[in-house]
Amino acid sequence: MEIVQINQISPDQVIIWSWGFIKINATILYTWLVMAILVVGSWLVTRNLSSEINVSRWQHFLEVVISVIRGEINEMAKKGGDKYIPLIGTLFLFIGLSNILVVVPGFVAPTSSITTTASLAICVFVAVPMYGISQNGLLHYLKEYFQPNFIFFPFHVMGEISRTLALTVRLFGNIMSHEKVVGILLAVTPLLFPIIMQALGLLIGIIQAYIFAILSMVYIASATSAHEEGHKHEELHKAEASQGIAA
């Protein structure tokens, strides 16, 4: 059963229930599903955690995931990276799980909806100045918009908006297009090829999750510590380069 028709560009268009302007569509439903899996899974594993040497394999698994996220964040944040873990980690886990579950028949990734990607990008867009202000103070943060001089202010603002847009469209475009391509291939090619495409889709999904999370972290890092600009730019270029490959 196809939930999202091939001519429907987004699962937003699949309305399940509506009452006035309030409506529940496939995007929200599948978002809840992913949320439920993450929260219930975390709760099940962490309800009896052990800080001893011997731990359960699920705890090991989660510790590995969290350690990797923490390592990536600390590499960029240099210090106090743990406070970014909830935001960056949730971005990575939510996007990653959504993209992985695409292999389950009948599942539609919430990230193939531009509304979801836009909401995530908006969260990052808001979080960056919040972290920047809390770290360096409002004045210092605003001063960054006038560097090297006031002429650059509009460019800074445009940069903020455009990178948010880029985040939104990049994720949405990749996932949505992949779903469509697989759908079309399934219709026109024999059995084997769509499987390879699905495998490639998993890879793309993980890479997109990684890129989204890392770019968010780069933006936050550049906002929180303006003194290490060179390093940030390097990170930025690196992340954008990998995104280019994936795209």
Binding site: K23, L49, S50, E52, L62, T90, A118
Partner: protein, 256 residues
């Protein structure tokens, strides 16, 4: 592309809710557990390091003590063996002395016993020889032998030097001019006259001679006067024989 603002708001809320829930149920707990474990491991490591250090110190201490003990025991052993050696020498000296004393005593006793044995042997031999000789001579006894004995006796009287003659003369005078001649056999009056003649010629006149037959004087004759004696008998030959016999027995005993 159409964006539904309600759905957008919903998704933002959903995401923030997810951030909160995961922070509550995942990151906080996992990070706490990891940090606690790290702290525990660090504590254990530091504890282990401390224990190791302590163990190393203890080992060093024991090693030192062991060395000291070994040195001490070696020293004690040396002293003990030295003392034992000294004691051994002392004891050996003492034992040697005792052995020497016992040996000396034993040798003395042995010599005494030997002496007594030879004394006894000599006595017995002499008695046996006496008895045998006496018996033989008694069996052989005849006038001719007795004459020969008396003739030898007379030759001896005649062979006295002047000094001896003088001493005997003095003795005869001191003894009341009495002379006793003892013999193992009876002396005939002719022979008695020959004897008296020889005595008077050699020594002096004016004394009386009394003849006594005495079997103890083995095949012989003797003149006794106040402590002086002129005699011939087998006794002296027998004595020489006994002496020689004793000597031979002793030599044999030593050789054995």
């Amino acid at each position: 592309m159409h964006i539904d603002w309600f759905v957008l708001g919903c998704q933002i809320f959903n995401f923030l809710l997810l951030v909160y829930l995961l922070k509550r149920f995942l990151y906080g707990r996992i990070l706490k557990a990891m940090d606690e474990r790290e702290a525990k491991i660090a504590a254990r490591f530091s504890e282990a390091r401390e224990i190791k250090e302590k163990a190393a110190e203890a080992a060093e201490l024991y090693d030192k003590r062991n060395r000291q003990l070994a040195e001490k025991s070696e020293q004690m052993l040396n002293e003990a063996s030295l003392a034992a050696e000294t004691r051994r020498k002392e004891l050996m000296e003492k034992v040697r002395e005792e052995v020497d004393a016992i040996k000396t005593r034993w040798q003395t006793m042995l010599a005494r016993e030997k002496e007594a044995f030879f004394q006894d042997l000599r006595g017995r031999a002499a008695r046996e020889i006496y008895a045998t000789a006496r018996k033989a001579l008694a069996d052989l006894g005849n006038a001719e032998l007795e004459e020969q004995i008396v003739a030898e006796f007379i030759r001896r009287v005649q062979g006295l030097d002047s000094e001896k003659s003088k001493e005997i003369r003095k003795a005869i005078t001191g003894g009341g001019n009495k002379v006793v001649v003892q013999s193992a056999f009876d002396i005939s009056p002719d022979t008695q006259a020959k004897i008296e003649q020889a005595l008077k010629k050699q020594i002096s006149n004016g004394f009386t001679v009394r003849y006594i037959k005495q079997p103890d004087v083995v095949s012989g004759i003797e003149l006794r006067v106040n402590g002086h004696k002129i005699a011939w008998s087998l006794n002296e030959y027998l004595e020489t024989l006994v002496e020689n016999l004793t000597e031979v027995i002793q030599k044999e005993a030593h050789a054995a």
